[in-house]
């Protein structure tokens, strides 16, 4: 599911190479790997992985890490890192709990205030990184300790709960069956609203891609041959429709999936099409060149961290809403999952390279490994081992393809 409005892939890097059917493995390797992992675990679990209830589970269980991964990929593209997000998840969850449970604020006001607190946290860290010039590794390592300490100060040793229903629904609930069910033959009943949303999403995606292809042709740019283009769209459509049908058969669409879809589309557009997004790539790709091109590098860095804080707060609300309690140990090691998702998804350690969709895919790869291995009864230490090796393998592959591309010149 590529959301780039002008895909910048599949261009051959060797000058004068014949333009034929050509899959750029470095760009698409991550998606191929994801597909293989899904197939592998579908076989190992006798199909349990792709059962309606389980697909829903994978989405809901990984939603907060995926939200963090969106923020993290932007931080990493800008050439920095954020180790504090796990602690920020805990602190903002606690803030939201205090506002709703103890102070009795309306849920929407509490959520807005919590996002505001996340922005302030991001601003505090972004200030030291952008304007004071302290490496983000240090600033956010300090932040990791400070915000965990503040969480413990707010909560003491116990959790605060339960959360208002609206927040729980956002984190854990499903869209209602507003239009009732429709029979799908042997598949049983499915929610009409979910199916409609899925069909509209596919149609919209296909339309946008088609319009872009036409525009690119109009500008005399290279495009995929029509059969390949149609094949790609068809494949994406089938995958989306399969997931939607399965979800419609279960409990309809998880609200958090709707939220994630909005975030992924919005941030993909932000990264690829907005001036701010393009400046993030410029700053991470070559700080000096960006400075000498008139990019205001300090505000760019600052706002990237503010954004990370807001998304961490959103993840905090959803995580605590899902558990129905804000706990002092919430979010432990989330930063590592988010960072791993970004790097598995093709971000470069030096910055300047990465995609929102890639980070989401990286996060889903880890989610599927987690889920699939627990379905086949693997102990958690083995899950950890596999995740660690997958991270190493993904980055090693990236370095290897880069070196090969360099040697080919």
């Amino acid at each position: 599911m590529s959301l780039d409005v002008v895909p910048r892939s599949t261009v051959d890097t060797t000058v004068g190479a014949p333009r034929r059917f050509h899959i750029n493995l470095r760009q698409s390797g991550i998606y191929v790997a994801f597909a293989l992992i899904v197939v592998l675990f579908a076989i190992l679990t006798d199909g349990a992985l792709l059962q309606p209830g389980n697909i829903s589970n994978i989405v809901v269980q990984n939603s907060y890490v995926l939200i963090l991964a969106i923020g993290m990929i932007l931080v990493i593209i800008s050439g920095h890192i954020d180790l504090s997000v796990g602690s920020v998840v805990a602190l903002t969850g606690a803030i939201c709990a205090v506002l709703t449970v103890q102070l009795g604020l309306p849920w929407w006001l509490a959520v807005l205030a919590t996002l505001g607190a996340g922005a302030l946290i991001g601003a505090a860290q972004g200030y030291w990184v952008a304007y004071f010039g302290i490496p983000a590794f240090i600033v956010t390592l300090g932040g990791m300790l400070v915000f965990r300490a503040l969480t413990l100060t707010v909560l003491g040793n116990q959790g605060i709960g339960p959360f208002p229903d609206e927040i729980r629904r956002l984190a854990n609930g499903f869209t209602g069956g507003y239009l009732g069910n429709v029979g799908l033959g042997p598949l049983g009943g499915a929610d009409i609203v979910s199916l409609l949303v899925g069909i509209l999403a596919v149609a919209g995606f296909a339309f946008v891609q088609w319009r872009n292809r036409r525009a690119r042709l109009g500008y005399g740019q290279d495009v995929d041959p029509l059969p390949l283009f149609a094949g790609k769209i068809l494949l994406a459509a089938l995958v989306v429709l399969f997931v939607v049908v399965q979800l419609a058969r279960f409990k309809n669409l998880p609200w958090v999936l709707v939220l994630l879809a909005v975030l992924v589309i919005g941030y993909s557009l932000l990264a690829s099409r907005s001036v701010f997004g393009r400046h993030i790539y410029a700053v991470g790709g070559n700080l000096q060149a960006a400075t000498l091109s008139g990019v205001r590098v300090k505000p760019v860095t600052f706002w990237v961290f503010v954004n990370m804080g807001v998304l961490a707060a959103l993840a905090g609300v959803i995580f605590s809403g899902r558990l129905n309690q804000a706990g002092p140990t919430a979010g432990t090691a989330f930063e590592l999952d988010a960072i791993a998702a970004a790097f598995i998804g093709g971000a470069a350690v030096q910055g300047g390279v990465g995609k929102v969709v890639g980070a989401i895919t990286g996060g889903l790869i880890m989610g599927v490994i987690n889920n699939g291995m627990s379905l086949i009864g693997a102990p958690s230490e083995r899950v950890m081992l596999v995740k660690g090796l997958v991270l190493l393998a993904a980055v090693a592959y990236d370095v290897w393809t880069k070196r090969r591309a360099g040697a080919a010149r």
Partner: protein, 511 residues
């Protein structure tokens, strides 16, 4: 019978795309001070890197004979073991470590792996006295001034029982007193039997202390002169350095009468951000007119890039004073954005570090400085952006598989065109091009000259900074010479010659 300590014979060294040295010959007699002169890029540094083993044996052809034995160095340790020590222009002391620690870095006075501090400091004091330094050996090296750091470097060489000492621009960063002291010290070392090779742009120093001088040009040995016997003057050395042949080819250009003054830099003074109080640009005044190509000549360290970058939104330097006038009105250029807004563009001498985002594609680099022109309310029109990139690709003939190819896959000349396109897209009135043809092959050079001519024909003012004098002479209507941060002269196309320029560029500036 003369006693040659070093004979370099038939050295040829190639880098991808360039031959840095071609059949270079150099003979140094035992106990002499031997000068090596040449323009920037003549191959002096490459030659010294071969002598010190930085370019290992086997990466070049030809032979190096030291004290009668052929050498096959594979690193600095090999050359230092034979008694050849090189002191680079950029001092290699670790500022946080003490003088004594620096002296014996990699060569520690130790017993079974444990440093003997008494022996270290005592030996350090002895070596320091030899170069006339009375500092405490436990002082951090960073606390010393540049001149004294230079002396510590020499003391370090002495501690290694040096036979041949190579100094690369030893006085470039020193004031007159420190320079004089250093030259005296070199004479003293010579009398002690240490042979010195001195690379210097300061020709008066060469004629003062050297017995003989070897001149390099374009990677070849031009000649070796006996300074004492032949009464060699600075002019004589300059003649050898610049040569007579102007084989460079330039695209034809219709001379157009220059228009009104578009940019004036007045009394521009810049201080170094690294060394407090050091003046890098000293009261420079320059004027550029529409449709005019103006050159800025100067040797390395003269302050050319510093002048350009400080004008370009104060991208370099501290404590900057002076005025910039655009179309006769004083403007305030405090940031790169200000500079772009006032129609000033700067193409850096180091495109990989300062010019390009190598991991991004050609399109993203072309639009980097002018993204605002392609966007509305913060959103970029990507189709228009690609079209702009394609237009520049066709216009500047950038060879690439497509405008979506990452810039690191392009050749040097095409990368340079991408940077030019980036700045042309901002539609500036004034372009400052810093070494626009560095690391670019001959064909691409010709094309770049054509682009520069085209910009001038459009009525833009172009300031070209270049180390290659023939390039300036072939391209420019007018040339300023810069020496030690000061404008030391200005020549019209008709009156400019390499000799006159070199004379101004090497002119001593008294402060």
């Amino acid at each position: 019978m003369t006693d040659d300590i070093l004979t370099v014979h038939g050295i040829t060294k190639s880098f991808p795309g360039v031959t840095a040295l071609r059949d270079v010959e150099l003979t140094v007699r035992r106990g002499e001070i031997h000068g090596v002169c040449g323009e920037n890029g003549a191959g002096k540094s490459t030659l010294m890197k071969i002598l010190s083993g930085v370019h290992p044996h086997g990466s070049y052809s030809g032979e190096v004979v030291f004290a009668g034995e052929p050498c096959a160095f594979h690193g600095i340790r090999d050359s230092e073991a034979r008694g050849i020590v090189i002191i680079h222009q950029e001092l290699a002391l670790v500022p946080q470590l003490s003088i004594a620690e620096n002296l014996f870095l990699g060569n520690e006075r130790a017993n079974r792996g444990w440093i003997d501090w008494n022996r270290t400091n005592h030996a350090a004091q002895r070596h320091l006295r030899r170069v006339g330094l009375r500092e405490n050996p436990t002082t951090p090296a960073g606390d010393l001034g540049v001149g004294k750091q230079q002396l510590v470097e020499i003391a370090k060489a002495l501690s290694k029982e040096v036979e041949l000492l190579i100094l690369d621009e030893p006085t470039a960063a020193l004031n007159d007193d420190d320079s004089a002291h250093l030259l005296d010290l070199l004479r003293g070392l010579r009398d002690d039997g240490i042979t010195c090779v001195v690379i210097s742009h300061k020709l008066n120093e060469i004629t003062e202390i050297a017995e003989r001088v070897t001149i390099l040009r374009d990677g070849r040995t031009v000649e070796t002169l006996d300074v004492r016997a032949d009464e060699v003057t600075e002019e004589r050395i300059i003649a050898g350095m610049v040569g007579r042949d102007l084989e460079h080819r330039f695209p034809p250009r219709d001379p157009v009468p220059p228009g009104e003054e578009v940019l004036r830099i007045e009394d521009w003074t810049v201080h170094s951000p690294a060394h407090a109080g050091r003046v890098v640009v000293d009261g420079a005044t320059l004027s550029l007119r529409r449709g005019e190509i103006v050159g800025l000549a100067g040797l390395m360290g003269a302050g050319r890039t510093e002048l350009a970058m400080s004008v370009f939104g104060r991208s370099y330097g501290v404590d900057i004073s002076g005025r910039i006038l655009k179309d006769g009105r004083e403007i305030d250029v405090r940031s790169v954005r200000d500079a772009i807004r006032h129609g000033i563009a700067y193409v850096s001498e180091d495109r990989k570090r300062y010019g390009l985002n190598l991991v991004a594609d050609v399109t993203g680099n072309v639009s980097a400085a002018g993204l605002g022109k392609l966007s509305r309310r913060g959103w970029v029109d990507q189709h228009e952006e690609v079209r702009v990139a394609q237009r520049f690709r066709d216009r500047l003939r950038i060879k690439t598989s497509g405008v979506q190819a990452p810039t690191h896959t392009l050749s040097g000349g095409n990368q340079q065109k991408v940077v030019l396109a980036k700045w042309m897209f901002t539609e500036p009135d004034v372009l400052i091009l810093d070494e626009p043809t560095r690391g670019v092959d001959v064909g691409a050079k010709y094309e770049i000259y054509g682009i520069v001519n085209g910009l001038a024909a459009q009525g833009k003012a172009v300031l070209v900074i270049s180390s290659e004098l023939p390039e300036l002479l072939g391209l420019c209507d007018r040339i300023y010479a810069l020496s030690a941060g000061r404008v030391t002269g200005e020549l019209d196309r008709a009156e400019a010659t390499q000799e006159r320029l070199m004379r101004m560029m090497t002119q001593e500036v008294r402060r």
